[in-house]
């Protein structure tokens, strides 16, 4: 297990990857990616029990589904730096003939990805299916998933939320990235979500909160707490408050960087705020 400083270094390096990837192709989604960096770094490097290498079935290991597929720059950087594919391949993000499609897919055979996502609201159903398969296989490993808060406006989520509680899918930990922002503005202006945790609770989930999802130690503690609550008859939901664009001052406190790449000057400033730690790709 890496120590906290090593994980923090990785967080900074992943932020640099995200910024450089979207800048290079002048497209992609830096805001949500930066907001969930601590979460995904902790998940893949501290929390999940992973086998070496990759196979689709993932039997005998924890598996993860990214439902809000637009934060692919973060997903790709974390997967590459965890060893799923060469770090150099981050250079091909969103380019023609790349395995690193704009939104994650299995179609090009990128190791680490188990389902296409990007058309929102579908990941929780898939995660439930994979959790049911684990139970059928007698595999006591866990299934993790990440969802945007705005994504909860898609009705399919509520079918899935109802199903998971009703059928005691208690080997699933679904995390909601509660950054309060979506493309058109604040979630509460676009279509109010209200108290997300309460909603999961009344549907029958075990709910906990990570008050600051950009505090690595809080994220690790929250995920460990969530692990301890699995296997008790209820699916587990983490409502994790994050700051979109975290780590880059001008990208924070706004929805403006949901799907916009920085200019050359903006990139230079952003990278200055996140000095190289483990080496750029």
């Amino acid at each position: 297990m890496p120590n906290t400083q090593e994980l923090q270094d990785l967080v900074i390096q992943v932020r640099r990857d995200i910024l450089r990837m979207v800048h290079k192709v002048n497209s992609g989604h830096p805001g949500g990616s930066l907001g969930c960096t601590e979460f995904m770094v902790a998940l893949y490097n501290e929390i999940m029990d992973l086998k070496d290498g990759f196979d689709m079935d993932g039997i005998g290991e924890d598996i993860f589904f990214l439902s809000n597929g637009h934060i692919s720059p973060l997903f790709y950087s974390v997967l590459a730096r965890r060893g799923y594919f060469p770090i150099d391949e981050l250079n091909t993000f969103r380019l023609i003939n790349s395995r690193l499609q704009g939104h994650p897919t299995t179609h090009e055979g990128l190791p680490g990805v188990r389902v296409a996502s990007g058309s929102l609201g579908q990941g929780m159903s898939v995660a439930i299916g994979a959790a049911l398969a684990k139970k059928l296989n007698g595999d006591d490993h866990l299934v993790y998933s990440l969802h945007g808060d705005g994504e909860l406006q898609e009705g399919q989520n509520w079918e899935a939320i109802m199903y998971a509680a009703g059928n005691k899918v208690d080997n699933l930990i679904a995390t909601i990235d509660r950054n309060g922002q979506q493309i058109d503005g604040s979630t509460e202006d676009v279509l109010p979500l209200g108290d997300v945790g309460e909603k999961f609770k009344v549907f029958g989930w075990d709910v906990l909160e990570i008050e600051n999802g950009n505090d690595l130690e809080q994220v690790i503690a929250g995920l460990q707490e969530a692990k301890g609550r699995t296997g008790k008859g209820k699916p587990v939901c983490i409502v994790m408050t994050t700051e979109m664009g975290n780590g880059v001052d001008f990208m924070m406190h706004t929805h403006a960087w949901h799907g916009k790449a920085p200019s050359d000057e903006q990139l230079a400033i952003a990278l200055e705020q996140n000095p190289e730690t483990l080496g750029d790709y």
Binding site: M56, D57, G58, I59, I63, F65, T105, T106, H107, R114, V115, A116, S117, G118, S119, Q122, G123, M124, S125, V126, A127, I128, G129, A130, A131, L132, A133, K134, L136, N137, D139, G155, Q156, E159, A160, M162, Y163, N167
Partner: protein, 317 residues
């Protein structure tokens, strides 16, 4: 003429149920999902014998398709079943992204396809599903013709790796294919050799085509009848071999002529061997309430419509 006789009318959905019963006993990786329509899909025996391998998702088809996709991760072979309307159009994006584009080994099994579910009317009928599903890259599309073939197809698709759309129906229809006939995906079946015209039929229209061929024979017309149970991948060779001999073709399906079997055949012919073709299919319309026989008569999908189409296409040779 016909060497096929009706062994007794049965519904194709019961063929699906029987296939599932057998798969439940022979393939431990097969799991079943249903959206509040167990009785209609005839899977009671599978559920009774394998309760741990059945997932009742309730009236939530989008979630069902996603759960089915997830179950493949871990090596399961999910058979997700409901009415054809709710198994396709209602959940098209879930099938597109989570199943087809994600290369998931999900079998989408759809009953009550076409007009012949009858009295429930157009909200529950679907005449667009073949088109919707065949347009998805990598999706196999199968429409068996009777009970025996539906059972055989259900068993066969479990052995095929990749997403499959299996379409069948509600009414009791002639059961005429051999009980032990092996189902080969993508391999058209010659039912009656002929020299004047080719009839390419799928689903419930296969039996109607055999009836038509018998009547045509009495008028001195030799009709070749081929059962195109697999619409995708289409058996191009069987189609071309036949039309090169007969010089004209009628396609017959319980589906809109836009997007159905007929258009797939027309593409093959236009590319390799342009041939006069007539379409027995619905003509860009929704259905309505009525008995199955009344609907097939009104919308021109029975043996008489096939006969008329043959006489018409013969004049175009």
């Amino acid at each position: 003429m016909t060497k096929y006789t009706d062994q007794g009318k049965q519904d194709t959905r019961s063929g699906y149920g029987a296939g599932m019963t057998e798969l439940g006993r022979t393939n431990p990786n097969v799991v079943a999902l249903c959206a509040d329509l167990i009785g209609s899909l005839k899977i009671d025996t599978f559920i009774k014998e394998n309760p741990e391998r059945f997932f009742q998702v309730g009236i939530a088809e989008a979630n069902m398709m996603g759960i089915a996709a997830g179950l493949t991760i871990g090596g399961k072979i999910p058979f997700a079943s409901t009415f054809a309307n709710f198994a396709t159009g209602r959940v098209y994006d879930q099938i597109r992204q989570s199943i087809a584009y994600s290369d998931k080994n999900v079998k989408i099994c759809a009953s009550h396809a076409g007009l012949t579910l009858g009295e429930d009317g157009a909200t529950h009928q679907i005449l667009e599903d073949i088109g919707l599903m065949k347009m998805l890259p990598g999706m196999t599309v199968i429409n068996p013709c009777d009970y025996n073939q539906t059972k055989a197809a259900t068993i066969a698709i479990a052995e095929h790796h990749g997403p499959v759309y299996l379409r069948f129906g509600r009414p009791k229809v002639a059961n005429f294919t051999p009980v032990d006939q092996k189902f080969e995906i993508g391999k058209a079946l010659m039912l009656n050799e002929g020299t004047d015209v080719t009839i390419l039929a799928t689903g419930h229209l296969v039996w109607q085509s055999l009836l038509a061929a018998e009547a045509l024979e009495n008028q001195g017309i030799s009709a070749e009848v081929i059962n195109i149970h697999t619409i995708k991948p289409l058996d191009d060779k069987a189609i071309l071999d036949s039309v090169k001999k007969t010089g004209c073709v009628v396609t017959a399906e319980e589906h809109n002529y836009l997007g159905g079997l007929g258009e797939s055949v027309a593409r093959v012919l236009a590319t390799h061997h342009p041939t006069p073709q007539e379409f027995v299919a619905t003509k860009d319309t929704f259905g309505e309430s009525g008995t199955p026989d009344q609907l097939m008569e009104k919308y021109g999908l029975n043996n008489k419509a096939i006969e008329a189409a043959v006489l018409k296409v013969l004049k175009r040779k």
